[in-house]
Point group: C2
Chain length 348, copies 2
C-alpha cells in the first residue's frame, strides 16, 4: 500500500531508530520496531534539559512541533532538547500499514500505551543516554502516555503535563471510541482490515470523521462559526473538507491500532486496578490541564485523577475549540499553555 | 412487517383519529393520516384547561404520561385536560412501517415539524373544538414542536414549555443527527430502507444505540455509574441491554423519518430565515428549560433563543442524566420540572 500522507514531505524532517524486538504487554512482539522522532535544540552536558513530547491519535511529530515548540515559546529549542516521538501505529513509527509480513495490516498485534512508553524509554536511554526528563508532556493520547511515563518511571520524570486526557480510560470514552471504530469497521469495504487500499474504506472514514466532528470540537465552536477561521464556509464544508480531508488520507488499520490503544489506556495495570495506588507512584511535579469545553475528556474526569496526585495542580484551559483546542488553532490557547508550562518548568 | 413494539399493550391505552389527507410542506401528502393520542382528565366547559404534550424522537405517549402526568403532579388530570399526541413517524401515528402502499417504508415522504403541528391543530380543533391551549410542552423533538406551535399559532398558545430543545436546529445538532442516521443506513442489511424486517438491521440499530449512549447521557452519568440505578451492571451492559434493547425493537425507517424531521426543525421557515422575527411572533408565556449537562441541546444554545422571546424566562434543570434526564429517571428531575410548570401555569 502506498500513502501520499505518511512521508517526510508532510511530516518531516524526522529520523527513525530501530529498537529491535519489542515484547508486547498483550502478547506477541513487534520485530524491527522503529520509532520515528524529531528533535529540536541540543542536549546539554548534564543531560538535564531533555523534554519529551508524545503524540495523540492520528497526530504526528509535525503538528506537535507546530503547535508547541518554537523560539520564544515555553518549549524553546534554545533552552531545551526536545524530542517528539511518534506513537506506534501513527503511520510514521511502526504501524499496521508499514509493518512487515506476517504481522502487518489486519494481523498487526495489539499495542498498549505501556508498550509505547517502554519503546520510548529504550530510544531515550540507548540513543541519547538520557536518564532524567525535565518534562514529559502530551495531549489526549499524549496525556495517556505522559501519565504512563510518570507512573512507570517515576524516578525519570521530573515534571509532567498531561493535557486533555486521563490516566485511566473512562466508561464514556470507551463508548465514544467504539463508535469511532465501528464507523470504520462497519464499512463492507473494510473487509475485516484486509482491504487493498485504505481509500477503499472512504465511506467508513467519512463517518469516522463526522463523529469526530460531533465530539472533537464543542457546540460553541459551531455556534460561533469558528470553522470559518479554518477557511471553511459552512459546517458541512468543514466536515467534508477539513475533517474528512484530514482522516481520509490515513490508513484504517493504523487508526484502529491507535484507537484500541487509547481505549485500553490504564495506569492501574501497574497496581492491580487500584487508581489511587497507581497515581500515588507519581513523583513528578504535575500540572493536569483539561480543556473546559472538552466533550470526552471533560475537566471533571481530569480533576478526579488530579486530586490523587501528590502536589499536583489543576490548570483548566479555556477555549471554545473543545478537545481540538489541542491543535493550537485558537489564538487564545497558546498563551495559556505556554504560561502554565513556563510556570511548571520553573518549579524546582 | 410485524413489530412486537408498536401496540396498545406496551403504549396504550391510546386512541387514533384520522385527519384525512395531510398536505406536506416538502411536497406530497400523507393519505389517511392518523394520529395516535392519549387523553387524561376532562375538558372543562370553557375549554380553558387544555394542555398539549408532544413526543420526542422514538418516544410515545406512554413515556410522556409516565414521566410528566399524574395526580399531585403539575400536570394533574384532576385539573387539566391533557392530550398527548404521538408524532408522525413514531410508530403509533402514521409512520413508514404502518403506512399504506405506495407511500410506505423507504417511500414514505419527508415530514416536517410544521406538518406535525398542523396535523395536531386539526385534531385539537375538529375532534375537541379546542381553540386555546393553557400550555404546550415537550422535550427534545417535543420542544421543537412546542416552538413551532408558539410561532405558527401564537393566538392559540397561552403558555409554552420547551424542554431540552431549540426552535432552530444547530449545525452541531445536524452533525450528531447525521451520525445517528449513518449508523443505520450504512448497514448493508438496511438495503436503502427496503429490508424485509426491521430486525434485519440489528447491527445498524446497535451502532445507533451506542452513539445515543455517547451523546444522550453525560460523562458524569457514567462516572457516577448512574446506569446501576437503571438495573445495569456495567456501561457495556447498559449499552447492550438498555440502549440496544430499547432501539432494537424499533423500525429503522420510522427512526429515520423522525431523524429527518428533527434535523430540519426550523421556525424561521415562517420568516424567511430570520430567527429574531420568528421568535418575536411568540406571545405565549414561555419558560425555556435546558438541562445543564445536555451534550447536544446545551443551555447556551437554548439561552441564545430565549433572549429573543419577549417576557420569557430561562429555567435551567440540573441533572447528571444529560439529555435523557427527560425520561424522569433522575429523582431530582421531577420536582424541578413540576416546580417550573406550576409556576408557569399560575402565570396570568
Amino acid at each position: 500500500m502506498s500513502y501520499p500522507y505518511y512521508n517526510q514531505d508532510l511530516h518531516g524532517p524526522y529520523e527513525t531508530h530501530n529498537i529491535g524486538t519489542l515484547t508486547l504487554e498483550e502478547g506477541g512482539a513487534l520485530r524491527d520496531c522503529h520509532l520515528a522522532y524529531a528533535t529540536f535544540g541540543k542536549l546539554n552536558k548534564a543531560k538535564s534539559n531533555a523534554v519529551l513530547i508524545t503524540t495523540w491519535y492520528s497526530g504526528t511529530s509535525k503538528i506537535m512541533e507546530q503547535a508547541y515548540v518554537g523560539a520564544g515559546r515555553a518549549l524553546d529549542p534554545a533552552k531545551y532538547f526536545i524530542i517528539i516521538v511518534n506513537q506506534i501505529g501513527n503511520g510514521l513509527s511502526t504501524s499496521p500499514h508499514n509493518a512487515a509480513y506476517p504481522a502487518n495490516g489486519a494481523d498487526f498485534p495489539k499495542v498498549t500505551i505501556g508498550d509505547d512508553v517502554r519503546a520510548q524509554h529504550q530510544l531515550l536511554t540507548e540513543k541519547f543516554g538520557i536518564e532524567r526528563l525535565a518534562l514529559v508532556m502530551g495531549g489526549s493520547m499524549g496525556a495517556q502516555q505522559t501519565y504512563e511515563w510518570a507512573v512507570r518511571y517515576p524516578d525519570m520524570v521530573e515534571r509532567a503535563a498531561p493535557i486533555a486526557g486521563t490516566a485511566k480510560i473512562t466508561d464514556h470514552d470507551v463508548l465514544y471510541n467504539q463508535s469511532l471504530c465501528e464507523a470504520i469497521t462497519s464499512d463492507p469495504a473494510f473487509k475485516g482490515g484486509r482491504y487493498a487500499n485504505g481509500t477503499d474504506v472512504a465511506e467508513g472514514l467519512k463517518r469516522h470523521a463526522r463523529i469526530w466532528g460531533v465530539m472533537g470540537w464543542s457546540t460553541e465552536f459551531y455556534q460561533q462559526r469558528r470553522f470559518e477561521a479554518l477557511g471553511m464556509v459552512s459546517a458541512q464544508d468543514f466536515i467534508d473538507s477539513f475533517m474528512g480531508g484530514y482522516f481520509g488520507l490515513m490508513d484504517p488499520n493504523d487508526l484502529l491500532c491507535m484507537a484500541w490503544k487509547w481505549r485500553h489506556a490504564d495506569v492501574t495495570r501497574h497496581t492491580g486496578g487500584d487508581l489511587k495506588a497507581a497515581l500515588k507512584r507519581i513523583t513528578a511535579k504535575t500540572f493536569v490541564m483539561p480543556i473546559d469545553t472538552d466533550m470526552f475528556f471533560p475537566p471533571a474526569d481530569c480533576r478526579r485523577e488530579q486530586k490523587l496526585i501528590k502536589g499536583s495542580e489543576l490548570r483548566v484551559i479555556k477555549s471554545v475549540d473543545g478537545h481540538f483546542a489541542l491543535l493550537g488553532a485558537d489564538p487564545g490557547y497558546v498563551p495559556q499553555i505556554d504560561g502554565h508550562l513556563r510556570e511548571l518548568l520553573a518549579k524546582q
